[in-house]
């Protein structure tokens, strides 16, 4: 004998099955969307890799060095061209001032900086 309980139970089962199906469909759609996004990310990453490789190729050290030497007439800075702030008086004394000290006073460590000699850079 089919009672109201049976009908209600069957209807509940149907609703549950439909909800389960909907949830699964949604999850599948989201997964497919994620896959598509991942595919796009991979494509973009691949494009970035190509750009990085091309940039590295263009900036090869031998090319840069050749350009610096050939086009700009630059040469590596020798150690004796390294100066500190304390050497400024010797390098470029103020007009009318006495000559700078023959031996430079040791500057604080953080005061060291490189000053390329004018002779190294040719127009």
């Amino acid at each position: 004998m089919i009672t109201l309980k049976h009908v209600a139970g069957f209807a509940g089962l149907m609703v549950f099955a439909a909800a389960l199906y909907w949830a699964k469909s949604e999850a599948q759609a989201v997964r497919e969307s994620a896959d598509a996004l991942q595919h796009q990310v991979n494509e973009q990453r691949a494009a970035v890799r190509v750009l990085e490789a091309e940039a590295t190729y263009q900036e090869r050290l031998d090319r840069l060095e050749g350009a610096a030497r050939g086009q700009l007439k630059l040469e590596p800075v020798p150690a004796r061209a390294m100066a500190t702030l304390a050497d400024l008086d010797m390098i470029a004394p103020l007009p009318g001032a006495a000559s700078g000290p023959a031996v430079a006073v040791s500057p604080p460590a953080d005061a060291t900086r490189e000053i390329p000699p004018p002779a190294q850079v040719q127009p």
């Binding site: 590596p76 800075v77 150690a79 004796r80 390294m82 304390a86 023959a102």
Partner: protein
């Protein structure tokens, strides 16, 4: 009532229908309903199973995702790209879908000028569904093929390993073969790490591309100038063991490993062993000082060749007098060094060399690590010859690591091609010398450069300390004075040795610039000087002299005039 009336015909009465029988219409209907119901129930159950319980192809998705992961990049210690994987497209033809083979071949010739049309047509007509046209197209070529609009031409994605720096550090980085399998270098040694990661985390090497460039430039220039068979050069951090530059000449191009000649494929830094000659004297003096068998000023008789058993040891630059240990090193006396070795003792020598890593393979992470050739038995003559670098052959990397160990305060650090984490503690090391001995030894090596055979190795302001080594190579008839291995190994700056450097030339020839000589002092030493001069600033080493001190050296008359004022 007539008879007729009485004659009641007994018609057969219909029997009651059998409610459950299959022979009745009702029964058949029930059965049919049951069959249909069962059928629909099965279909419904299957639909529910498919809709709700079908397993997702996770394994397939993971496999596809993994296939999409490229081999990880290789970068230098500063992040400069050394190796990367690019997606390329290869072109193939499906013969069944090609309308006109001649027209397709003609069209392809416009994109690929060297295309072999006849061979392509022949392959198209040989049956099958797949014919390679061209592998690894550039994006421009791919676009051009698309523009042809020829049916039957398809693309397939392929990964291609690219080394944008060309030959830079080619031996250390290694290469892949045509099938994409690693065949050498870091590519081979770290294959699992490069292929099993997420593809986005690069492997950071200890190499510094800037220093590597300088080292390769100077090595190639020097080796070419002296018409050497080959050459090797190394720069290494003495404290961490990180190899900052490792160059083997002739260079190898990892972009075209098949085109590299066998002679150039050998990594001479880690996989070739050489008798290094007098650079080994540093180790002999080191153990003598450590054991307090000698002092820098102790004298040794070098007036005449030393005879040990049937062998006689001579000096290349014979002084024929008593020499101090300092002079033995600066003037590179074989006789004096052999006498020191005799005082130290052959067993102690062997033990010290073992602790210095000279008796084992030293290739860092590279699998191409040459096995050293060491004496089978440490006899008196073996110990004597080993003391000045003959009768033992090691790789240039081994020698450099040895120099680093005796100069950094006496700790042996295993060399590595992988960048260390600066915040991590220094790797486990083993002590080979006391700090005091190490300091004394570096002072003696500095004397070699200021007053001895290594004068041309000095770099203005960067205080190179080291030792020259000129070894004769073994020929069919013993040592051949015309075939040499010239090297200079050293450290800089001498007041706080931070970097070890080595340049080695295999069979250099004399030139007019060297007065016909091909010894280490005129071949390898100048190369070291130039390498240090160009790379010290890149490594953050400051000159030991101030600008004013350099100025004083350049103009002593001016200084005198200033003092007179």
């Amino acid at each position: 009532m007539t008879d007729t009336a009485n004659l009641a015909v007994e018609w057969p009465r219909a029997e009651l229908r059998d409610q459950g029988g299959g022979s009745t219409a009702r029964g058949r209907t029930y059965i049919l309903s049951l069959v249909f119901s069962l059928g629909f129930a099965v279909l419904g159950a299957r639909a529910v199973q498919i809709g709700l319980f079908r397993p997702v192809d996770e394994a397939g998705r993971a496999a596809r995702a993994e296939a999409a992961l490229p081999r990880a990049d290789i970068v230098d210690r500063n992040g400069a790209l050394l190796a990367t994987s690019l997606t390329t497209y290869s072109l193939y033809a499906d013969p069944k879908r090609v309308w006109d083979a001649n027209e397709t071949a003609r069209a392809l010739t416009t994109v690929f000028p060297d295309f072999d049309s006849a061979d392509f047509i022949r392959r198209l007509r040989s049956g099958g569904r797949f014919v390679w046209v061209e592998r690894r197209l550039t994006p421009r070529q791919r676009q051009a093929v698309w523009a042809l609009g020829q049916p039957g031409l398809e693309f397939v994605e392929e990964s291609r390993r690219v080394y944008p720096m060309g030959t830079l550090a080619g031996h250390a980085i290694g290469a892949l073969n045509g099938e994409g399998s690693s065949i050498s270098g870091i590519e081979r040694a770290l294959n699992d790490r490069l292929t099993t990661g997420d593809g986005a985390t690069p492997v950071r090497l200890s190499l510094d591309a800037r220093v590597q460039h300088v080292v390769e430039d100077e090595l190639a220039t020097t080796a070419s100038a002296h018409r050497a068979l080959g050459g090797a050069a190394v720069v290494m951090d003495t404290r961490t063991g990180e190899v900052l530059a490792a160059a083997s000449w002739p260079f190898a191009n990892p972009n075209a490993p098949g085109a590299t000649k066998p002679h150039a494929q050998v990594n001479r830094v880690t996989n070739a062993v050489y008798e290094m000659g007098s650079t080994f004297k540093v180790f002999t003096v080191a153990i003598g000082l450590e054991d307090k068998v000698i002092t820098p000023d102790k004298g040794y008789d070098a007036t005449a060749p030393l005879r040990i058993g049937s062998e006689t040891i001579h000096d290349f630059h014979g002084k024929n007098r008593v020499m101090s240990v300092r002079e033995i090193l600066t003037q590179s006396s074989n006789i004096g060094t052999a006498r020191i070795a005799r005082d130290v003792g052959r067993e102690r020598m062997r033990e010290f060399y073992t602790r210095l890593g000279l008796m084992e393979r030293t290739g860092g992470e590279l699998l191409e690590a040459g096995r050293p050739l060491v004496p089978a038995r440490w006899s008196d003559i073996a110990a004597a010859t080993v003391s000045y670098g003959h009768g033992i052959a090691v790789t240039p990397l081994s020698l450099t690591a040895g120099f680093a160990a005796v100069s950094n305060g006496g700790q042996y650090v295993r060399p590595t091609f992988i960048a260390r984490n600066p915040d991590a503690p220094l790797p486990v090391t083993r002590r080979v010398l006391s700090e005091e001995t190490s300091r004394t030894l570096v002072g003696l090596m500095r004397d070699v450069v200021t007053d001895g055979t290594g004068k041309r190795a000095d770099a203005d302001g960067f205080e190179v300390a080291g030792k020259t080594g000129t070894a004769e190579k073994v020929g069919p008839n013993g040592y051949d004075i015309n075939r040499r291995v010239s090297s200079f190994a050293g450290v800089f700056p001498a007041h706080e040795p931070r970097y070890a450097v080595l340049v080695l030339l295999d069979e250099p020839k004399g030139s007019a610039a060297t007065g016909g000589g091909a010894t280490a002092g005129v071949t390898a030493a100048p190369a070291v000087s130039r390498i240090v001069s160009r790379s010290a600033l890149l490594l953050g080493v400051r000159p030991a002299k101030t600008f004013a001190q350099f100025a004083d050296e350049e103009s002593p008359p001016q200084k005198a005039a200033m003092e007179a004022q």
